[in-house]
Amino acid sequence: MSRLSALIARETTLAWGRGGGPLVALGFYAGVATFLPLAIGPQHDRLAGIATGAAWVALTLASLLSLERMFERDYEDGALDLLLLSPVPLELTCAVKCLGQWLATGAPLAFAAPIAAIGLGADPGLSPLIFLCALLGGLAFAFIGGIGAALSLGARRGGLLTAVIVLPLFVPPVIFGGGALANFAGGLPWTGGIAFLGAYAAAAVAFGPLAMAAACRNALS
């Protein structure tokens, strides 16, 4: 346990830095929330819709931006070798790395999401659901992102390729979550979407580490 807690602390600080973290997470969220409506075009001024969209885009972006640090740095500087040399199975190590990643970026952004959404004019009643979607979605993103990061280890490919691998896998959570939010707002049954989202996240958490560990072993051998 001491091992895993040490690892999770390392991963969060690597992704987040020490202290003062919320400022960066908040600034990042604010940046995305400012940038997005402008890029999409101000004619789409239904801010409430943008509000949840900004949450997804911020989560995706944060996940994509941290992918390179997730395995590649450790691979290049030899840390991955040492992480492997341990009674902890590599699958668990990978899972903990993803979890640390999620704690450092996904979770703070999930807390920021409902606040920003209300600020942007979303119905406050939606905020628990937005939070839940962002939390589960961020979890799924972290574990799927990890697969992409591990797969592109050692390949001489930039971050774009990892994004190409990973983006299609990011789509289902967005569809499930978006559907749940839309249904909730329209007074329709919405638990189904959340259940699917949860199932997807659970599957990512359960099977992602297997894929990551296999990819890491492949890169190292």
């Binding site: 830095g17 960066v24 600034g27 604010a30 400012t34 409506p37 402008l38 101000p42 001024d45």
Partner: protein, 242 residues
């Protein structure tokens, strides 16, 4: 203000000056604000805007101060970058949170005012967005400073960022001319004189001066605090080494 850097660049002289200047500016701000607010709230209702015109006395000076604070940040950063002067760096570091607070105030009051005036809290138009960008730049400045351990390097990196971000100032100012913004253009400082009656512009002017003095006072206080903190840190390092 051009004499100020030269005169104040000596830390001892600065500390002696700010010891009495900071409270004095504070008192002036208080006096001006009392008079300004009194005049502002006893002014007649605007025939178009009704009571909401009174937000103006909060909003307009706050918006102007947010830009003024950024200009101060930029000048201080420039001085610290060129002359490697620590006092200038203290000044820059001290200005950032104040500027962020003024910007936040301008955004909130503007938004509150926009609801009755434009029928919307927010609009992605040039003026509003560029002010929001300035707010984000303040945050970025503070975040960058906070995430570097080496203070000298953090100071220089942040100063460069502040200077780069100053490109946003003219964008804010001219945004109302460059885009057909919903925000109104200049109505006070115009070649043909203020385009509003004296009952409005006199309290507005008083409030602007009050904000300015408040900013001056708070800024000096924060610079003093920063100077003290650094002195204490150097002393602690020296003690640790011996």
């Amino acid at each position: 203000m051009s004499w100020a850097p030269a005169f104040l660049s000596n830390p001892d002289r600065f500390m002696a000056f700010s010891r009495w200047a900071a409270p004095m500016f504070g008192l002036i701000a208080l006096g001006l604000a009392v008079v300004g607010l009194y005049l502002g709230f006893t002014a007649p209702e605007d025939y178009q805007q009704g009571q909401t015109v009174r937000i103006m006395f909060i909003h307009v000076p706050a918006a102007q101060m947010s830009m003024f604070a950024y200009a101060c940040l930029g000048v201080a950063s420039f001085l610290s970058l060129i002359f490697r002067h620590t006092l200038a760096d203290c000044a820059a570091q001290a200005a950032a949170p104040l500027g962020a607070a003024f910007t936040f105030l301008a955004l909130v009051t503007g938004s509150l005012w926009g609801r009755p005036m434009w029928g919307t809290w927010w609009e992605w138009d040039g003026r509003l967005t560029s002010v929001l960008v300035m707010f984000l730049l303040y945050i970025a400045y503070m975040a960058l400073r906070a995430s570097m351990d080496d203070e000298v390097k953090a100071a220089r990196a942040a100063a460069i960022l502040a200077l780069v971000g100053s490109i946003n100032l003219p964008i804010i100012h001219f945004s109302v001319e460059w885009w057909n913004s919903i925000h109104q253009g200049s109505s006070i400082f115009r070649k043909d004189g203020p385009s509003m009656p004296a009952v409005f512009w006199v309290p507005l002017l008083l409030m602007a001066l009050a904000y300015m003095s408040a900013f001056g006072s708070l800024w000096l206080v924060r610079i003093r605090g920063e100077v003290w903190r650094r002195k204490a840190e150097i002393a602690a390092q020296r003690a640790a080494r011996d």
